[in-house]
Every structure is written in C-alpha cells, then in structure tokens.
C-alpha cells in the first residue's frame, strides 16, 4: 500500500519537518511500521557546494575506513559526523547513520561532461555493491534523506526532523512486502539530487533495470523504486529531458491517443515512445520525484494508485490522501486529482 506526501514552497521559504511528520503520520493506515523516511532540500546551507553523503554503517570499526579511503581517493572530505539521532523505544537501531560533506576531484573522471556527478555515481555504486556494511542512501547537494524501519512519527523523532528546514519535503510511509525491516529498503530513494517516493509495484522492473544497468547504473537496493531515481538521472541529467518529457517517457500516452494528436505533438510523443520504450514503467504506481528546483508527481497510465494535489499558490502538495494535505493546511483552496499519467509539476521561482 504505502503512503506518500510531498510539498514544495515555490518561493524557497524553508519549512521545518514538524508539519511533514504530522501529515505523514495521518496516513499510518497505509503503512505497517516497518519503514518510513523523509527527504528535505535546503537543509545544509553551511555546505551548499558539497555532496552530502548519508551512509548507513553497520558499525564504525569494520567498514568506515574503507569508505574514508575510497572517498579520499576521489575527492576531499570537507566535514564528517554522525547524524544526530535520538533513541526511540519502538525503533530498533540497526545502523549508524553518518554524513560526509564531500567534494570530488573533477579532473579524475575523464571522458565525461559531468565529471563531478559521475564520480559521485561511481562512488555510490562502488560502496553499495562493493563495501559490505556500508550503504549510501543520500548523495545530493544541500539536501538529505532520513529514513529507518519504523512508524513515520518514530522515524521523525529518531532524527528529530523538526530540526531541519527545507523548501522541498518528500515523505513516505511503507507497507513492505519485499524487504521488511531493512533500513535501506525504506523510501525516499536518492541519487545525486534526485529523490523518489513511490507507492506501488513496477511490473516492468526487469526491463527498466536492464536499461539503466546497460547505461552504467547498478541496482543494489533489492527494490523496484531505485530504478525510478536512475531513470530520472539518466533521462534528466544525461539526456537533458525536462520533467514533462521524462514523465512522457515513463508513463506515455496510449498509441490511440498519440495517433489522434496534432502532427507536431504526435511526432514528439511517438519519438519518445520509440526511443525511450525501455524506460516505460508498467504496473500500479504513484510517484513523486524531487530535484533541487522542483518536484514532479505522476501515476501509472491507468491510475492504479491514488494521487491528490493541493495548491495554495505558493505551496504545492502532492499526496496519497487529501487528509494529509489538510493536516498541514486545513483551508487549502485548490484540491484536485490529476489524470492518469499526467505530470504535476511544482518549480521554485528563481
């Protein structure tokens, strides 16, 4: 089942995490207390140019030195510390969450137009597939994921997310079937500045996975959601598709609809379906993806999962349930349900 909640303040006014916790907790019905998580953008203004790597260590003794060594090879660690956490009676601590503020050496990655990002991707993939006992779960700039196995409110209290202030928040309440209780399996999933919360199951996973893996990504999280982050990174950053076009690739119109569009539109949609066919996602899903400058929410092509949008002009909310939006803003003016496959986009005003 799972519940998702997200909000963006278009003016980039930062909100603390308390209302997000309240909103997500109002959908406890949709979870099972085995996974919840939050991501916020704009939380590390002191290190705006560093990649904030959030890592779960099984313990500090065995595994951390390998990560330190790898990072020191590819760049400079500007600062590192344990992520502050606060014991909760009903949340069993399984890992030590740690954060590095990291600057890669650009000139080490040859043959790339985006060397910094490619070093980060390589480092994340290398740690996650090569270093046991260490898992990078957040790797963007001036943003961070906080997640664990537990109820939304316990996870929020564990990290004290009210201490973080962000202009974009995504939150997720998990009903796991695949990897219950595994902290890495909780959402949001993140790569670079892309974060994803997802409700559903991707039946095209095998095809999507092959596509991203054949383009240099490694799926290491044992769950279908991570491919969404990689697809957004691949199509958005490497192929320069806008969010609207990415959603057209991931949840395209049906051929009948394409055939009845005006010529220029039908050519565009046809080209996207042909060239990005392996990125098409099937199965039920409601997804919200965030980047530093906005969020986009969309569902599968026949809307087998709910998605509700609230908009007060400044703040845009995308949620599984209206109740969660009203929890934050009881008097929200505009509430609507987007059509299947139709992207809902909120961008910061620059």
């Amino acid at each position: 089942m799972c519940g998702i909640f997200s909000v963006i303040d278009r003016n980039m006014t930062r909100m603390d995490g308390s209302s997000i916790k309240a909103a997500l907790s109002s959908m406890d019905e949709r979870g099972s207390g085995e996974g919840a998580g939050y991501v916020a953008y704009g939380i590390y203004p002191d290190f705006p140019d560093c990649y904030a790597l959030h890592i779960f260590f099984d313990n500090i003794v065995d595994h951390k030195s390998k990560v330190d060594e790898l990072l020191s090879k590819w760049g400079v660690i500007i600062h590192q510390e344990e992520i502050p956490t606060y014991e909760q009676p009903s949340l069993k601590r399984q890992h030590i969450p740690w954060r590095y503020f990291f600057k890669p050496y650009k000139d080490l990655m040859v043959g790339s137009l985006t060397p910094e990002e490619d070093i980060i991707i390589k480092t994340v993939m290398d740690i996650n597939s090569g270093i046991d006992g260490a898992l990078v779960f957040s790797s963007g700039k001036n943003m961070g994921v906080f997640k664990a196995a537990g109820w939304p409110e316990d996870v929020a209290n564990f990290y004290r997310i009210e201490d973080y202030r962000g202009y974009i928040w995504l939150a997720h309440n998990r009903y796991p079937t695949n990897t219950p209780g595994w902290w890495g399996g909780a959402h949001p999933f993140n790569l670079l500045n892309w974060s994803v919360v997802h409700n559903g199951e991707i039946t095209s996973y095998g095809t999507n996975r092959q596509y991203v893996e054949s383009n240099g990504y490694k799926c290491t999280m044992h769950t279908d959601t991570e491919v969404v982050a990689y697809l957004f990174d691949y199509l958005g950053r490497r192929h320069k598709l806008t969010e609207e076009l990415i959603v057209k690739a991931l949840a395209p119109p049906f051929w009948d609809e394409i055939d009845s569009m005006p010529l220029s539109k039908s050519e565009l949609n046809r080209a996207i379906r042909l060239i990005y066919g392996p990125a098409l996602m099937n199965g039920p899903f409601g997804i919200v993806v965030a980047q530093s400058d906005g969020i986009v929410g969309f569902t599968d092509r026949i809307k087998l999962r709910p998605l509700v949008v609230g908009d007060d002009g400044t703040k845009l909310y995308i949620s599984s349930e209206e109740a969660a939006i009203r929890r934050v803003d009881p008097n929200i003016g505009e509430i609507y349900m987007p059509k299947a496959g139709e992207p809902v986009i909120g961008r910061v005003v620059k």
Binding site: G200, T203, T207, Q210, S214, R273, I275, G283
Partner: protein, 503 residues
C-alpha cells in the same frame, strides 16, 4: 539387394466395415499410398508419409495410421532411426535429406520456463476493459533524442528517426519463398498479414506479381543467390532482409531443384526455366562484418534510406557477438533463427546437429547488446520453433521485439508436419508446385485461417500481459523478472538470466 528393405515407417489400416469405397483417399494421396483396383481399395503403406490428407478427407473416419509398426530389437543407442539412416546411406552413398525443423529429442527450453501473474500487491489488468498495447516498432532507433523549443512553445525532435515497421502485433510470418511453397500458400499468407496488420517474408524467391497488392506488408529477401533481386523488387517491399543463414541448416546454402522451376518461378526468381537454383553457403560479397555493413548501406542507398534493412543469421554459438557487429552497421533489425527452425529441405545431419536453441540465442544477444548499451538501437526478431502464444511471450521476455512464425502458419493452412516438403508432392498444396495439388489450397480460406491463428495468439498474449500487470509490450521486452525457470541447470539460468521457480 543384400540389404533388403527396411521395415515400414507407417502402417495404414482401413476399417473395411466403415469404408464405403468412395476412393477419396486415392484421389487425395499424392504419394500413391492408395490405389483403386476394380473397386477394391488397395493400400501401400510403404508410400505413406503420415501427411494425414487421407485421414482428414475420409468421410467415414475409416483410416487409421500407426507409427513404426515393426519393432527393432530395442537399443538405446542404436535407435531404429540410426540403423535406417545407415542402411539408407550404405545403399546410396549420399547425404540424407530431411524437411521441417530439428527432429531430435532435445528438451525444449520454452517448456521449462513459466510466466508470472499478479496477485494482491499489484492488480492484474483486464484487457477487455483496459487498453492493452501490442503495437511493435521494428527498426533503428537513435540512442537519445535531441529537442528544440520552437517559437510558439512547441517541443520539436531534432533527430531524424529512420523508418520503422509498425506491427499491430509482434507476430510476423517468416521467409518462405515462392518455390519452397506454392503461390497459393504465399498469397494466403500475404492476405492474412495485410488483414491483421503485420508482415511476411518473401524468402529468396522474388516477388510474384500476385503479391504486389500486399507489398506494403512484405519483407523482401536478399540471399546469397540474389534470386529475384532488382530495384523493382527492393522498392516494392516494406523492408529488406539480408539472409546470411538459417536455423535449420546453419553454414550451408540452399538448393531448389530444377524440376520445381516452372515458368512462373523462373520469371519470379529471374533464372532460366528448369535450372537448379543454388544459393551458395556464403554471400560471395560478404566475407566479413564490414562487407555486410557495406551491403546494408548499399541496399539503403538503392532505396534512398526509406526501407528498414534486417539481417538474418542462424543461431550459432557466437551469435551474440555477431549480432553486436550487425547492430553497429546501419541494419535496423537482427533476425535470429534457432535450430528448430523449419525448412523445405536440409541435410539431416545439419538439421539435427548444428546450431543452438532460439531461447538461449535471444537471451545471449539481448544480454550482449545491453552490456554494450545499444540494445534499443536495433530490433531483435526471433524465429525457429515457435509453437504458441506462450512461446512468443517467453521470447519477448527473454529479449525479442517480435517473432517470425513459419511452420505454425503452414499448419494453419493444413500442413501436418510430415516433413516431406522437399519431395514437392505436398498433398495440402503448400510445399508443391504441381498445379492440381496447389489448387487444393483455397487462398481465401487459407488466409482466414492464418489470420485467425495470429488473432488468437494476439488475444492470448494480451491476456498473459494483463495477468502480469503489463499493458504495453515494451514492458515485457527483456523483462526476465516475469519469467522463472523450472528444472533448468545453473549454467542455463546464467545464459537466460532467469531465476529458478521459487526464487
């Protein structure tokens, strides 16, 4: 005569109480297994090929047929087939010819694969109520798109996308030439593919005028004999296929005996009347991958880059690397023909022993192209032993874009897989040029039956996809997650990249 005769292959029995001596069996058997001697029906079982023509035409169900009525001394190694081939070859000193696909008892990989269905965590989709998309595009695709915003805010694609074939269903009919099969058979197939919105191959037999009305649904073939190839032929086809090899007989060419080359065939193939049509083993202008790339470009130039060009190879050990080489040329699709692929005539030793199964070939080609990051740039068409819609779903999940069927389409027109195509006496009017036999195949009903088969399989495919929670064929392609292997060994699992059942 010291060898004597071998035992009967088939024994035909007549239920004399049922038989009303209508003699339809006599008229129908082109192999001469029956004769009418002054009102008495005489059977010569030695001539029977088990084509079932008599059985299907008998109004009283009075005919029965038994396979191998005479036992040899049982021996697991020296099977009756092994012994008979030796007797035959010691008599003739020749290569043994055989028809249809590999007849050895290799286990089928398709039959060791099972498909997935949704339960609870994701809903299955009902194709009667929800859209289900099987539309398939075969052809070259750029690896990425470039866009430009126009002045009025529209987004325009800058890439020029090579023409793709648009199939309403991922089922096409493979190349069977006029010559190998009759004109009526080819016309039935042509009508059928036009009706359902898919394509057929012409084979290396040229394009007969009566197929011209369906030319937009045909793929013309350029094989090593170059029979029937001229600019008119190339321009009429919707696509062009270069045939390098064939699953039933990888590594060798083809041979249409002169007695089959009637005036019509001689015109269509552009060869002298009554002369043997011999397609050499290699193309004598293709001795390397770069030669192939050159021919691909040559054909594209000749047709002004308007036609997709496919390259067909037999599934052999190195097929993945070969396909990767083809993908680097301007070719639009690679056709892989597995070792069960049918044929009119092949040396039995090739048919039964050379090449690899299509399932493994698709998976390894798909894997190799993925590893090289070029999978979506070229289409994969799989053929060779596809018997039903489940085989198609499995082929696509292993990585194919579409399939070619051959034998199945012939069965839809009457063929009973007797495997005597090379004798030219097909009593169903399919693999023969004898006019009285060809006339037995009614074009309209043949077309209807072939169309029915494709439609039926298309329905089944949509049901299978819906059950797996997939509403677009792209999401099944290469989707090994929707497959599991039942009792396949680990080596094979690695080749197929499929997990075992329960995993």
């Amino acid at each position: 005569m010291s060898l004597g005769s071998v035992p009967l292959r088939y024994k035909v029995d007549i239920d004399r109480e049922q038989c009303m001596r209508c003699m339809r069996c006599v008229d129908n058997c082109s192999y001469g297994a029956f004769r009418n001697e002054e009102g008495k029906l005489i059977v010569n079982s030695r001539k029977c090929t088990a084509c079932h023509r008599c059985i299907s035409m008998c109004p009283r169900d009075a005919i029965s047929l038994k396979d191998r009525p005479v036992d040899y001394r049982a021996h697991p190694l020296w099977t009756s087939e092994a012994r008979e081939d030796i007797i035959n070859q010691s008599r003739t000193g020749k290569i043994v010819l055989a028809g249809m696909g590999n007849a050895k008892d290799f286990p089928s990989i398709f039959d060791r694969l099972v498909l997935d269905a949704c339960q609870v965590t994701n809903p299955s989709i009902d194709p009667l109520r929800e859209p289900m998309e099987l539309k398939t595009h075969i052809g070259k695709k750029p690896s990425r798109l470039e866009f430009e915003e126009t002045v009025d805010g529209d987004i325009k694609v800058l890439n020029e996308i090579a023409p793709n074939l648009e199939l309403q269903t991922p089922i096409m009919i493979g190349h069977m030439s006029y010559g190998a099969i009759s004109l009526n058979a080819q016309r039935s197939i042509a009508q059928a593919v036009a009706k359902v919105g898919t394509f057929m191959g012409t084979g290396e037999g040229g394009l007969h005028e009566s197929i011209y009305p369906y030319q937009d649904n045909t793929i013309v073939q350029v094989a090593s004999g170059r029979f029937g190839v001229d600019i008119n032929y190339l321009e009429r086809g919707a696509a062009i296929e270069i045939k390098i090899g064939q699953g039933a007989k990888p590594g060798i060419g083809g041979h249409l005996p002169g007695e089959k080359v009637c005036s019509d065939i001689s015109c269509t193939r552009m060869i002298p009347y009554g002369s043997d049509a011999i397609s050499p083993a290699p193309h004598h202008d293709i001795y390397s991958i770069e030669d192939l790339a050159q021919l691909v470009r040559g054909l594209k130039e000749a047709t002004e880059w308007k036609k997709p060009v496919f390259v067909k190879v037999a599934a052999v050990h190195n097929v993945a690397a070969i396909a990767a080489g083809i993908a680097r040329s301007k070719a639009d699709a690679v056709v892989i023909d597995g070792f069960r692929g049918g044929t009119g005539a092949a040396p039995k030793v090739f048919r039964d022993n050379v090449g690899i199964p299509i399932e493994a070939a698709i998976a390894s080609v798909d894997k190799k192209l993925n590893e090289q990051g070029i999978r979506n740039e070229i289409s994969i068409i799989a053929s060779g032993g596809i018997r039903n819609s489940a085989d198609i779903a499995k082929s696509i999940a292993l990585g194919a874009d579409a399939v070619y069927i051959g034998t199945a389409a012939l069965i839809a027109m009457g063929c009973r897989v007797c495997g005597n195509c090379y004798r030219g006496l097909c009593p169903w009017g399919i693999a023969t040029q004898r006019e009285d036999l060809v006339d037995r195949l009614d074009i309209d009903s043949g077309a209807q039956q072939v169309a029915n088969l494709i439609n039926a399989w298309t329905y089944e495919l949509s049901e299978l996809m819906g059950a797996a929670g997939i509403n677009s064929i792209e999401s099944l392609r290469g989707n090994r997650e929707r497959l599991r292997a039942y009792m396949l060994d680990e080596g094979m699992l690695n080749v197929l990249q499929v997990k075992p059942v329960g995993a």
